[in-house]
């Protein structure tokens, strides 16, 4: 009987703690009722991508007179925040929508980040003259298409202390497109997402 009491107590305490935990649920990204966070989350990135794309599409810069698509490469997008964040999350939204619009083709042969380059482009060329491969199916020289434009940018985090001691966090999303032949900047957009929170709330 004496042994049974501690076991019951452990079970009871475990049950109480189990009840305190938040159950895991899936989130509908289109209708997320979850509270806002001080850090940068997917809602901020989607909003930034939306604003950038809206500006780019509305500018008419993508409308090539001959109806052909421009070829774009992904340059460096610098993460200048205090958070670990892969900027490909942002550029992936951008390039996906640009390709879906039919006005841009994105090259995998050339990119600032190795993650945006497909090593197979060079690998398939390394088998030229290899008798194991039907040479008629190997990519011939002079077939790669050079990019006409490059997209690059920066994400900046700035923290400002409010007069009442709270913290204001400013996220600046900046994207630019360069016309590679001339080096001229072709389009640019900055989008600000400001947040306010308690001074002790970390953003990482």
């Amino acid at each position: 009987m004496n042994k049974l009491i501690p076991v019951c107590a452990i079970v009871a305490v475990s049950a109480v703690f189990a009840g305190c935990t938040t159950p895991t649920t899936r989130v509908d990204p289109m209708n997320d009722r979850g509270p806002q966070v001080a850090g940068m989350d997917y809602r901020d990135v989607q909003e930034a991508a939306r604003v950038m794309l809206d500006s780019l599409f509305r500018s008419g810069r993508l409308d090539r007179p001959d109806g052909q698509a421009y070829v774009m490469t992904v340059g460096k997008v610098k993460n200048d925040t205090m958070q670990r964040f892969d900027t490909d999350i942002l550029t992936s939204y951008i390039t996906e929508e640009l390709m879906n619009s039919g006005k841009i083709m994105v090259t995998s042969a050339m990119a600032a980040s190795a993650d945006n380059r497909d090593e197979m482009v060079n690998a398939v060329r390394s088998v030229r003259g290899n008798a194991e491969f039907n040479q008629g199916t190997v990519a011939r020289s002079g077939q790669l298409v050079a990019p006409t434009h490059s997209v690059f940018g920066k994400i900046i985090q700035r923290e400002v202390r409010m007069d009442n001691g709270d913290k204001q966090i400013e996220y600046y999303f900046q994207l630019r497109i360069t016309e590679l032949a001339t080096g001229l900047q072709w389009w640019q957009k900055q989008h600000l997402i400001p947040k306010r929170t308690d001074a002790r709330t970390p953003t990482w």
Partner: protein, 132 residues
């Protein structure tokens, strides 16, 4: 004669009632959906779809705050092709806006592709904590 007076009174009353109702009816557009929790606090007016600098359509609309306070909202635009099929895009995510008392806020949204020729505009109250 008595019957004539009654009919005349009814017509006059009906005319007055119709006039009152139609004057306060918000503009209706089948492409626009305002969520019930916003009620008549906001109206969506001057909904226009046009091509400006781009080959892609741009939607422009005004959101009118009928109240004497700040209204915090979100809107999204779903784009449809010529067959009425939805074109999924990150451009169709919710976007926060707020309007101060009696303010008319102009909104614009550009279609993700030249194939988008129609739209559905949704407006709802901002989710808790979205805007201060």
């Amino acid at each position: 004669m008595k019957c004539f007076k009654t009919v005349a009174c009814m017509i006059a009353f009906a005319a007055a009632a119709v006039g009152c109702v139609s004057y306060h009816t918000p503009p209706q557009d089948r492409r626009v959906t305002v969520s019930p929790e916003l009620g008549t606090r906001v109206w969506v007016t001057d909904v226009r779809l046009a091509k400006a600098n781009s080959q892609q359509y741009t939607l422009q609309a005004n959101v009118v705050n009928n109240t004497s306070g700040v209204v915090r909202m979100e809107y999204r635009v779903v784009w449809l092709d010529a067959n009425g099929m939805e074109l999924p895009s990150v451009l169709s995510t919710w976007h926060p806006i707020s309007a101060v008392e009696r303010e008319i806020v102009g909104l614009a949204a550009t279609a993700p592709t030249p194939e988008a020729v129609d739209f559905r505009f949704y407006l709802q109250a901002a989710r808790p904590g979205l805007l201060n």
